[in-house]
């Protein structure tokens, strides 16, 4: 088992603790019974979100090198995004705007970071519970697949699992290094 496997498992356990065993198992059970591809579950329970201080620029000061501007569609992490950039909506590329909730499931892209030349796996978690932000619309489809392959599909409203499935904007979180290179670059 790799570190990320352990992390995913730990995340699932953590989530189970938060929403209570019954709720978690019933959701997981439904997914399994449905025979659907089970989606990566993030350690965020329904309606529970941490609030963090605002970082006006939307930029992450911890990132090495020149990452570029996360309010631009061309920003490297956006290689498979489809929606409004949370960086332009009062959030950042990694956090939801005030009052919105990050959904616990998402689709995945693989994008190359120009700052270190490496390929990263990106989770495009949607922020939910408020109407469309309407700013910085960005649609890039490198690696995007049709919705029968959902965890690679940016056309899906990925607010499933949030308390409201109304879509507001999309983030772009780093999961870790990717084994495959950015497709269709």
């Amino acid at each position: 088992m790799t570190a990320i496997d352990q992390w995913v498992e730990a995340a699932a356990r953590q989530m189970a603790r938060r929403v209570g065993r019954r709720g978690f198992l019933s959701r997981l059970g439904r997914a399994i019974a449905g025979g659907a591809i089970v989606l990566p579950l993030l350690p965020v329970a329904r309606g529970i979100a941490s609030s963090v201080p605002h970082n006006a620029s939307g930029r992450d000061p911890d990132l090495p090198g020149d990452e570029g501007d996360p309010t631009k569609c061309e920003y490297w992490r956006h290689c498979s995004i489809d929606g409004f950039l949370c960086s332009c909506c009062g959030g950042s590329q990694t956090a939801c705007p005030p009052g919105t909730e990050m959904a616990p499931v998402s689709w995945i892209g693989t994008c190359r970071n120009p700052a270190d030349g490496r390929d990263y796996a990106i989770w495009y978690n949607d922020c939910c519970g408020r109407g469309m932000c309407g700013r910085c619309f960005c649609n890039r489809n490198e690696g995007d697949r049709p919705i029968y392959h959902p965890y690679r599909s940016n056309d899906v409203n990925w607010c499933a699992g949030a308390s409201s499935q109304i879509y507001h904007c999309s983030t772009a979180l780093i999961i870790g290094l990717a084994e495959e290179t950015q497709p269709e670059k």
Binding site: R30, A31, A33, G34, G35, A36, I37, L39, D82, V105, G129, R130, G131, F137, N139, R140, N141, E142, G143, D144, R145, P146, I147, Y148, H149, P150, N154, D155, V156, N157, C159, A160, G161, S163, S164, Q165, I166, Y167, P183, E184, K185
Partner: protein, 403 residues
């Protein structure tokens, strides 16, 4: 105090003499005219409605609302029942609170809401809005694709107007009607699924095809078109697949290439949104194409290529008009005959088109549409002659439905 009302009237209105324009009747609402073959519904996600246009006049005939989802879930029509259906999602507090999903039933002639059927609150919400629901062939059952993210299908009996039940569909998505009691789906392992219902709309059986495409290297797009018992799907790399759903299991046919090697070397590629359309009487396939690399499968097309399905060859090329020009002209309120309008339409490069649909009759119209502006145009589908714009289609949207 009621006298004051009369005084108000007195102040502004005098007696009408016989020769004057007579007072209008109040409280009237129109019904739709007789259906023609040249109607089209256009989704508008910002206004959250779909508008019915007459392709011959370019005029709007009516509107149905569509709330609660990312983008439009376009209307579905039962000609036999004279009803139009819209899948809707409502929250108790607008964008918050308890979610409830419904099939809203409209009278197709008056566009009045005449009924609703509550369904499980998991109706799929997908940007392109296509094949998320369907009326099956004898128009008794309506099927709804659910994604929560686990996939399933809800079945509604249109005759009794009640929810029948939910069918779990292993890793398969979308609903492609294929008979009175059957529909197809596409699956994440490169297969197609056939689902058969019994007379009560309950699951009778499911059957899976052999794998016929590779989800990673060359997937087929979900934007299929129906050809009788068969469904046609184009792959990202430009191969046309067909799946026959008439038998016990779905039967994929050998794909053929929509591009020559030379065209492929020049980076010609299918893509857009509702990017293929089929006119069955003439066996013509319309395909939105552009030049671009991998990952551009949702970009607008610069051309529409017309194929003879029998001969498997391209027989015509249609160029979409500059849909951005007409959009900008309308929203800026610039006179269409003005110098500014001309400059605008000339200056702004044509953005191409994302979607095509064609009417089913013998003198078919081809509708083309641009996703980011929602702007649309109408062609004679036989000659390829541009006929007119559909003006003020809204501010966005790509899906179109011929009712």
């Amino acid at each position: 105090m009621f006298a004051r009302c009369l005084i108000v009237a007195l102040l502004v209105v005098a007696t009408a003499a016989a020769e004057d324009v007579p007072p209008d009747d109040v409280g009237r609402s129109l019904t739709l005219p007789e259906r023609t073959d040249h109607w089209v519904w256009l989704d508008e996600p910002l206004f959250r409605h779909a508008m019915l246009f007459d392709g011959d006049s370019g005029e709007v005939l009516g509107t149905v609302d569509q709330l609660g989802s990312l983008t439009g879930r376009h209307p579905h029509v039962s000609r036999q029942r004279g009803e139009t259906y819209v899948m809707e999602t409502f929250y108790a507090r607008g964008h918050r609170g308890e979610r409830r999903d419904f099939i809203t039933i409209y009278d197709s002639r008056t566009l009045q809401v005449i009924g609703e059927v509550e369904i499980p609150p998991r109706t799929a919400d997908v940007g392109h809005g296509l094949w998320l629901g369907a009326v099956l062939d004898d128009e008794r059952f309506f099927v709804v694709f659910n994604q929560e993210p686990a996939n399933s299908v809800s079945v509604v009996d249109l005759e009794s107007r009640r929810f029948v039940g939910e069918i779990t569909t292993a890793g398969c998505a979308l609903v492609y009607p294929a008979g009175p009691r059957r529909f197809g789906m596409l699956c994440g392992n490169g297969t197609a699924l056939l689902v058969e219902l019994d007379e009560e709309g309950r699951e009778k059986r499911q059957a899976t095809s052999e794998p016929f495409f590779d989800v990673v290297t060359d997937p087929v797009t979900e934007k299929g078109v129906r050809d009788g018992d068969r469904w046609l799907f184009a792959s990202f790399e430009g191969y046309l697949h067909a799946v026959d759903f008439s038998g016990d299991t779905p039967k994929p046919e050998a794909p053929w290439s929509l591009f020559t090697d030379a065209q492929r070397a020049d980076d010609w590629r299918v893509g857009g949104l509702q990017h293929i359309a089929l006119h069955r009487p003439t066996g013509r396939l319309f395909s939105v194409v552009h030049q671009g690399g991998k990952g551009t499968h949702k970009d607008a097309g610069s051309e529409i290529w017309v194929y003879d399905l029998k001969r498997r060859e391209r027989i015509q090329v249609i160029e979409p008009p500059s849909l951005l020009g007409v959009f900008l002209r309308r929203i800026t309120g610039i006179d269409p005959d003005s110098w500014s309008a001309w400059l605008l339409e000339t200056l702004i490069p044509s953005p191409g088109a994302h979607s095509v649909v064609v009417t089913r009759d013998e003198k078919p119209l081809l509708f083309v549409r641009h996703r980011e502006t929602g702007a649309a145009g109408v062609f004679d589908a036989r000659s390829g002659e541009f006929l007119r714009y559909l003006e003020e289609t809204g501010l966005g949207g790509a899906a179109m439905v011929v009712p």
